[in-house]
Amino acid sequence: MPRGKQDRYSSRVGEKLFPVSKPVTLTIDGKTVSAKPGSTIWDAAREAGIDIPVLCHSPRLDPVGVCRMCVVDIGGRVLAASCVRPCEEGMNVVTKSEKVERHRSMLTELLMSDQPETCPKESTTGDSELAALARAYNVDGSRLPRGAARSSDTSSKVIAVNHQACILCDRCVRGCDDIQHNDVIGRTGKGYTTQIGFDLNQPMGQSSCVSCGECLAVCPTGALVNKPISLPIVPRKSLKQVDSVCPYCGVGCSLTYNVDESKNRIVYTDGRPSPVNHSRLCVKGRYGWDYAQHEQRLTHPLIRKSEYYPRGPLSPEVTSSRGGEHRKGSHLVRYEDVLPAFRQASWDEALDLVATRLKGIRDTFGPGSLAGFGSAKCSNEEAYVFQKLVRAVFGTNNVDHCTRLCHASSVAALLEGIGSGAVTNTFAGIEDADVALLIGTNTTANHPVAATFFKQAAARGTKLIVIDPRRPDVANYAHQYVRLRNSTDVAFYNAMLHVIIAENLVNEAYIKEYTSGFDALKAEVQKWSPEVAEPICGVPAETIREVARIYGKAKSAITFWGMGISQHTHGTDNARCLIALCLVTGNCGRPGTGLHPLRGQNNVQGASDAGLIPMMYPDYQRVTNPEVRARFEKAWGVPLDPNAGLTVTEITKGALEGRIKGMYCLGENPFLSDPNVNKVRKALSALDFLVVQDIFLTETAEFADVILPATSYLEKLGTYTNTDRRVQIGRPALKPPGEARLDWEIVSEISTRMGYPMKYQSPAEIFNELVSMTHEYRGLTYEVLGSTGRLWPAPDPAADDGLQILFDDGFPTPNRRGKMVPAAFEPPRETPDENYPFVLNTGRVLEHWHTGTMTRRSYALNAIAPEALIEVHPEDAMKLGVHNGDRVVVTSRRGSITLAVTVTTRTHEGSVFIPFHFREAAANVLTIDEIDPFGKIPEFKFCAVRVERAPESSAAAAE
C-alpha cells in the first residue's frame, strides 16, 4: 500500500468527522446562518464574515484541533473548538464573550511565556500570527515563568528553525505530509521536551527535506522562517507585491514576489492561490529568483574584436568537476576568459551590424542559409515576433527551439493520432482518476508541484503505476513500480496492448465511434504476448499482465509521461503506444482520463503554440498548407517559404556542412543542451555570423559575433502557457540592469533595420495579433487573463476558466477519429559492448534547470546542489571499486568527462545516470546525436559509455 494511503489526516477525515448530508441552520453571534453540509463552526462563521482566531488551523489544512485558540461558547459545560466542531441544527454560537476572550487571552499568554525574546518572524516578515494575538490581547507572558531555552537549527540552506518559538501546532507537519506529501516532519519526545523533528530527528539540512518551504508558509510563529537570500528580510507591508508566475518548469505556479523597489531586489517569494498550484511552490520557485540580480548580467551590447577571429570557444575546455571544491566560478563561463574578446558597443551599432550581416547572408546565399533558435523560456509574445522575424524577414522556416529536445516526438505522435499536440486534461485532473500511469517522468524533481497532486491523489485512492528504468521518488507512492530495461518501451506497451485486446478489456463502443486503425494495431500487437516482451524489457510476463489489467479495467485512467518516453530515436513510437492504450480503452474526454505529456519549460507549450517550430505557423497550422500560408502572407504582407524548415539538430548539421551560414540565438544555449556538444562546438565555429541574445555570457555566446543584452523573465511583461494549456501573465518585478532591453523590442528593431518595420507598442498588442492568427487562443486578452490566467480553448473566457478536458466528442482530425498507429520495436542506436559496457541515461535534478545559466547563479539552488554526480548501482560500484564521492572518468565514443559518484539503487545494474545541467561535467559531451525520424528529437536517454576510476581519485585514496 502506498504511503499516505492510510487515513492519517487525509482529507476524508473531514467527511468522516462530519457525515452530515444536509445544510444546517444555526445562529452565530445572533446571526442566522445556513451552513454547507459537513462544515465546522469555524467554516460557517468565516462564510458569514465572522473572524474566529486560530493557531493550529488554516483553511489549507485539515483541522486537528490541538491548540484551542478557536474556542466558542455553544452553551455547553465547556467551550468548543470551532475548527473541529461540526455545525448542528439549531446551535447557538457565541464567538465573542468575556468567557471566551478570557480563555483566548490566557492561552496566548501561556504560549507567549515560552517565546524567545525576539520572534524570528516579527523581526523579518513581521507577520507572526501568535504575535498578532499577543498584541490584540495585550499579553507578553512575562507574568509567567519562562521555560528553559530550546535549541535552534540553521543547517538548512534556506530555512531557519527556532524550536523555542514553536507552539507545536502541527501545521508544518500537515503542510509537509498532506499538502506536499514529503513526509519529512514529525514530533519527537514527550512533555516539555517535545519538538518538531525532521526524519529521525536529524538537523533539517541533513534530512530528506527538499526545501519546498511549505512548512514555513503555514507556520503561525517564528519557529520556521526563510533565511535571507538577496537582502535582509523585512516586513511584507514595506515591500511591493508583484503577482507573477514561476519562471522555471511547465507547471507554471502562481506566486507573488516581494520586491524592494528602491534597491531593485526581490526579497522573498510567496505561493499564490490559483487553480494551478493552490499556493504551493517548490524550491526553484521559492528560492531560485536571485539569478536576475547576479553581478554577471550582460548590460551592454558586445561586438567581437577583430583580433579574435577566426571564431572559436574562448574559455578552456572544462570536462571535469572539482569534486565539491569549486574554484570560484569554475561552474560558470569564466568572464575573464571571454570578455576580453569583445568590446562594448552602442545599441545602434550592434543592431545595425546584426541587420546588415543577416541581410547580407540572406541576399548572397538565400533565405535558407539563415536560421533562428528561440527559447521556451521566452514569452508567447517573444516567440511570436521571433518566428515572424525568421519567416517574414529572413524568409525561411528554419526556426526552432528546445521543444525539439524535450517533447517533439510526443507532439508528432499526438498530432498524428489525435490532431492536437496539447494535453487533453490538466495534471490536477488526476484527482478523478482510478488509475494513473506515470511513465518516464521523475515528477518530484522535474514537475514538483504537479507531483504533489499525484501524491495527494494516491493518498485518496488513485492507483499510481510508475514505469521507468530509473526509479523515480514518486514510485514511493505507487501502487506498482515497474522497472523496465532502458529503451524497451515499445515492447512493453505492445505487450500491454496485447493483453488488453486478448482479454477483451477494450472499449468497443469507443473504438467504433471515435477511432481508426484498430485492426492494424491489433495485427501488430498480436505478436507481442507478454512472454515475447519479457526477455526484451526485463519485466516478468505476469507483471505486464497485471499492469495491463489494472489499466484496462479502470473506470477512468489518465496517462502522464515525460522525457523518458520522448527522448529516444523511437520516441514517437513510444508515444504512439501510449495514445493507442488510451484509445483502445476509451480513456479520453471524461473526468479522470486523458493524455498529458508533462511539459518541461515554463513556456514550451506557448512557444510551440506561437509557431516557434519549423513546420508550423502559430496554432500548429502547417506551413506547407497553401491556404494557411496565404492567410499568413496576407496578414504579414510578404511571400512566405512554402517548405518546412530545419529543426534544431538539422540546423547544427547544416552549419557543419556549410549550408547554414547565419544564426540568431535568442535565449538558447545549444552548447550545453544539445547532444554531442563537441559537434555543436564545431558547428558554431563554422558559422559566418552568430548573434546571441541572452542575459548572461553562455557557452554559446563565446562563439558569437554580436551579443545582445536581454531582459530576464523577472523584468518583463508577457504571457506564458503552462503544461495544462493555461495562459498566464508574468509581470515585471525588477528593472533591467544597464542598457539591457526587452526581447521583443530587440527583435522588432532588427526586423525594422532589415527592412520590415515592426512597430509594436506593448506585449498586449503582440498578444492580440497572435490571438488573431490562432483558433485556440481566441477570446483571450490581457484583461481576461487577469491574475490566474485561462486554459485554452476558452469558449467563454469572460465567464469561465477554459476547458479542462478536451475531446469528449471526437478529435480535431479530418475524420474526427483518433488514429491508432502500430509501433514496431526497434533497439536504441548505440548499445553497450565490451568497450562501452554501460548504458548512459541523462536527465535533471530538482534544484537545477536546463543548462544552469539561471539556477547555478541562484545562491540557494547552487548551494543545495553544487555538483554533478553520476549515479552508479551498488553492484557496479563494487566491480569498479568506487565509493560515494570517488571521482570517475566517463567516456563515450564522442568525448569524456570526470565527475563524482553517488552509489544508489535508483539506477539499475549496467546503467548509469548523469544530470545534464553542469558545464564542468557536461553529460551532453557523451550523448549521441542520433534522432527520431518523426519528432527529430535526439536520443538523450540512451548511449553506451565506459566508467573508470579517475587517476587522481586513486591517488587520493592511497594517501
Binding site: 502506498p2 504511503r3 513526509d183 514529525g186 514527550k190 523533528g197 526524519d199 529521525l200
Partner: protein, 158 residues
C-alpha cells in the same frame, strides 16, 4: 548489519497486522517486537518499521520517542523500574531507589558498566496498594523491604 525480524517474530508480526484495518495501527506492537529482539529502538529500526508499514520515518520516530517503554538507547540485560509516584513515595520509594543506586553504583537512568542492569524510575505502575514496588523486566515485586531489594539485585547482577 541490517536489522530484520527473526522468523518467529515475523510470524507474530503477520498475525498482528491481520488484526488491524491499517498498517499504521501496528506501529506500537511492531516496535515492541523489534525492541524485544534488539534491546532498544535504534534509528535503523525506526526506518525499518516505517518502510514496512508505509509510514514516514518521522512518524515512527515520534511514536518511539513518545512512549517511555521504548528504549531510545542501548540498555542493560535487565531493567529495573522503581515506581516513584505518590502512593509508593509515601511508602518509601525514595529509600528503595537510593538503595538501588548505591548497590549498583549508578544513578537512575544509567546502565551498569558491565551492561547487566539499567535503573529507571517509573510513574505509577498501578500497584499502588502494595508500595513500595518495582518492576524488574516483566515482573512486579511489591511491598519491598531493602533486604528483598538486595536479593533481587543479587539475582540480576549475577
Amino acid at each position: 548489519m541490517t536489522f530484520a525480524l527473526s522468523d518467529e517474530r515475523e510470524r507474530t508480526l503477520q498475525e498482528i497486522l491481520s488484526r488491524y484495518p491499517t498498517k499504521m495501527a501496528a506501529t506500537i506492537p511492531f516496535l515492541h517486537l523489534c525492541q524485544e529482539q534488539h534491546g532498544w529502538v535504534s534509528d535503523e529500526i525506526c526506518e525499518y518499521v516505517a518502510k514496512r508499514l508505509d509510514l514516514s520515518a518521522a512518524h515512527v520516530k515520534g511514536v518511539a520517542t513518545f512512549y517511555s517503554l521504548f528504549n531510545k538507547e542501548p540498555v542493560g540485560k535487565h531493567q529495573v523500574w522503581v515506581c516513584r509516584t505518590l502512593p509508593c513515595a509515601l511508602a518509601g520509594a525514595e529509600n528503595v531507589l537510593k538503595h538501588c543506586e548505591k548497590r549498583l553504583g549508578i544513578h537512575a537512568g544509567e546502565t551498569t558498566r558491565d551492561g547487566k542492569v539499567t535503573l529507571r524510575t517509573a510513574e505509577c505502575l498501578a500497584s499502588c496498594g502494595s508500595g513500595p514496588m518495582m518492576q524488574v523486566d516483566r515482573d512486579y515485586y511489591e511491598n519491598l523491604t531493602l533486604a528483598e531489594v538486595d536479593k533481587i539485585l543479587d539475582r540480576v547482577t549475577r
